[in-house]
């Protein structure tokens, strides 16, 4: 088992013929992801990375049975691309672009809810169910199948932690990038719900950061979870009022502080470690 994506996930890549889309399509294929088509309105009819290029997601769904989409188009076109994927019936839409206007994201998330689709991101590294499917831009070699569910806001930091887990013999059911933007489709809460239901996930790792209160909200759910949760939170050295790279990583008007998150998570029974390199041993300890 795994959450959200698995070996039945059939992926269409929106914006496959661009630089980033092209490279990561190759990487996903290498990983074994069932990428079945790409789209590009101007290159429809061509073959790219051995895959058909369609003008629309709809065609990829009809012709090739695509049921999930990963979006590599520029931010200005991201909303249109996401609406297209959702409208065409993709149940999972992974939005890699950063700098998507926040009001576009609000509408995308609302449309996804309206249509019953799951949006990952925007500004996410994607998600991976090791050994089954990868929809994202994360390196292929750092994950392996196992009992840990991982959900993170940030890419590289989560790779660091995933690699440490893997090195410690702790593989992953699925690793999900929530995305670094203020408004994203799946928040910690949503993902933890899925991990709690997934029989193969035995423990969860949450990699949070300052800004917003998705961690506090997650704490409410963690209280009710049967599975142990280890959390690492980045940004204790960050001053208020400054955006730390992510549009969402900012302490504003006294909200979104690391301390508030840590307290909420600990009160909910999660193990909050101080430094990223402490995650793997904490998980190991909890799994006994």
């Amino acid at each position: 088992m795994a959450i959200i994506i698995n070996d039945e996930t059939r992926v269409v890549v929106q914006g496959m013929t661009g630089n980033q889309g092209s490279f990561h399509t190759g990487q996903m294929l290498l990983y074994g992801t069932k990428v079945v088509a790409g789209t590009s309105p101007s290159k429809a009819g061509q073959v790219h990375q051995g895959l058909p290029v369609f003008a629309s997601v709809r065609e990829a769904v009809v012709e090739r049975g695509a049921n999930a989409s990963i979006i590599f188009v520029p931010a200005a076109g991201a909303k249109d691309a996401a609406f297209e994927a959702i409208d065409a019936g993709c149940s999972v839409v992974v939005m890699i672009p950063e700098h998507v206007p926040v009001q576009d994201s609000i509408l995308i998330v609302e449309y996804a809810r309206f249509k019953g689709a799951k949006v990952i991101g925007p500004n996410t590294f994607g998600l991976i169910s090791p050994g089954k499917s990868k929809m994202g831009i994360m390196p292929n070699h750092i994950y392996k199948p196992g009992p840990v569910g991982l959900v993170a806001r940030s890419g590289t930091l989560s790779y660091e932690i995933a690699a440490a887990l893997t090195n410690a013999g702790l593989g992953q059911t699925t690793a999900v990038g929530m995305g670094g933007d203020p408004v994203v489709g799946q928040v910690f809460n949503d993902v933890l719900h899925e991990f709690e239901r997934d029989p193969e996930t035995k423990a969860c790792v949450l990699v949070g950061e300052i800004g917003g209160s998705a961690e506090e909200e997650a704490a409410e759910f963690i209280k009710t979870m049967t599975k142990p949760v280890v959390a690492y939170l980045a940004g204790r050295a960050a001053p208020p009022g400054k955006r730390m790279g992510h549009a969402g990583a900012i302490i504003e008007r006294g909200r979104g502080t690391l301390e508030s998150k840590r307290m909420a998570l600990e009160a909910a029974g999660a193990t909050v470690v101080e430094m990223p390199w402490e995650v793997a041993s904490a998980v190991k300890k909890l799994l006994g």
Partner: protein, 370 residues
């Protein structure tokens, strides 16, 4: 992007929200001229900081002479780090009541949030929760008149004032939507001679949406160094420590600062060199770190999409072309790790594998340099 008060008010007015008459001025003479038409007038420094009034950035003038006098006091003054280059001459209004209204994005609800209070004129954080009305909007369906009525009523307003505030709330939401705002706030929204009018306004636009809003004047934000790195296209924040830091990925960069602090060091900056940066921007970013003249430089790379050999080459390039005159600590693992480590070693630079060890080392060498 934060807009100056005069720009924010211009946008509100364009959407039909009443604002006092006003004129933007660069010189004391212009202010004197403006006060001929607008009198009594408030002369307000146009800088992007709160608390201008207390800091002496807002003064009043009854006549052109007074206008000239207060303008010469305000123009050129330093207000919380910003030099005042423009003032906004605005009709002084008699304030009977002060309200607060705003629209912003509720990240958890993932919907626009309207906040309103009959207790305005102070920062909303200082208003007791029970005096704040909070309501969400379904963005696809938009703000409905009933909601504006409801909010105005829940603020405790009645009669014509309630109606005026409800109208303004509808228009405020329109500003939020059509201007791609992150925040639009009127504080205080005042009652003056029976009319409800926006006495001060904040309008923060979503940087990611500026492509839809051409023709806005550039408003420079951040320190000079921050502005310089912004031009390279990287995320950079100046801090007050002495260890310059580069890492790849925003979360990784934050964690790197945390690690330095954990071991007693003080980071000089936040720098996200990007999730897959190549040699050239990495070298430029290194150059900025050198320019900061820190006690040490700490580079922390987990190579995923980023290739370790690219980072190593960037470091070597900077070392060779302009030199790195302070201690350098590099942690380098992941994609093409061995190649990267070899490149550095040829230049006499050792690379760490463990982030914790590297952070400790960086703090130690910075301490030696103190």
């Amino acid at each position: 992007m934060k807009l100056y008060e005069y720009l924010a008010k211009g946008r509100l007015q364009a959407h039909g929200i009443p604002v006092p008459p006003g004129k933007l001025c660069q010189t004391a003479d212009e202010v004197a001229e403006a006060v001929k038409e607008i009198s009594p007038a408030a002369v307000k420094a146009q800088v992007l900081v709160g608390g201008r009034g207390k800091a002496g950035g807002i003064k009043f003038a009854q006549n052109p002479e007074e206008g000239r006098k207060v303008a010469s006091e305000i123009l050129g003054m330093n207000l919380k780090g910003y030099t005042v280059e423009q003032v906004y001459v605005e009709g002084k209004i008699d304030v009977e009541r002060e309200f607060y209204v705003s629209v912003t994005v509720d990240r958890n609800a993932r919907r626009p949030l309207i906040m309103a209070s009959a207790h305005g004129g102070v920062e909303i954080e200082d208003v007791e929760d029970k005096y704040i009305v909070r309501r969400h909007v379904d963005e696809a369906f938009g703000m409905q008149p009933f909601l504006a009525r409801d909010i105005a009523a829940e603020m405790g307003l009645t009669g014509d004032i309630q109606k005026q505030v409800a109208q303004i709330l509808l228009k405020l939401y329109e500003v939020f939507r059509t201007e791609d705002a992150e925040l639009v706030e009127i504080n205080p929204l005042v009652v003056s001679q029976g009319k409800v009018i926006a006495a001060d306004a904040r309008l923060n636009l979503d940087d990611a949406a500026l492509f839809r809003h051409q023709g806005l004047p550039e408003v420079a934000e951040g320190t000079p160094l921050e502005q310089r790195v912004k031009e390279i296209g990287l995320a950079f924040v100046e801090l007050d420590g002495d260890i310059a830091v580069m890492a790849n990925g925003a979360g990784m960069a934050m964690a790197t600062l945390d690690a330095l602090q954990h071991y007693g060091g003080r980071p000089a900056n936040f720098l996200d060199a990007g999730g897959g940066a190549s040699v050239e921007p990495t070298a430029q970013a290194m150059g900025v770190l050198v320019d900061m003249n820190p006690k040490a430089i700490f580079v922390n790379i987990f190579g995923g999409i980023t290739r370790c050999d690219d980072v190593a080459n960037a470091i070597v390039q900077v070392k060779k072309t302009r030199g790195i005159p302070v201690p350098l600590v590099v942690r380098l693992v992941g994609t093409n790790e061995q190649e990267g480590v070899d490149i550095l070693r040829r230049e006499g630079i050792d690379a760490f594998r463990e982030m914790s060890e590297a952070a400790q080392k960086a703090v130690a060498v910075a301490g030696e340099g103190r």
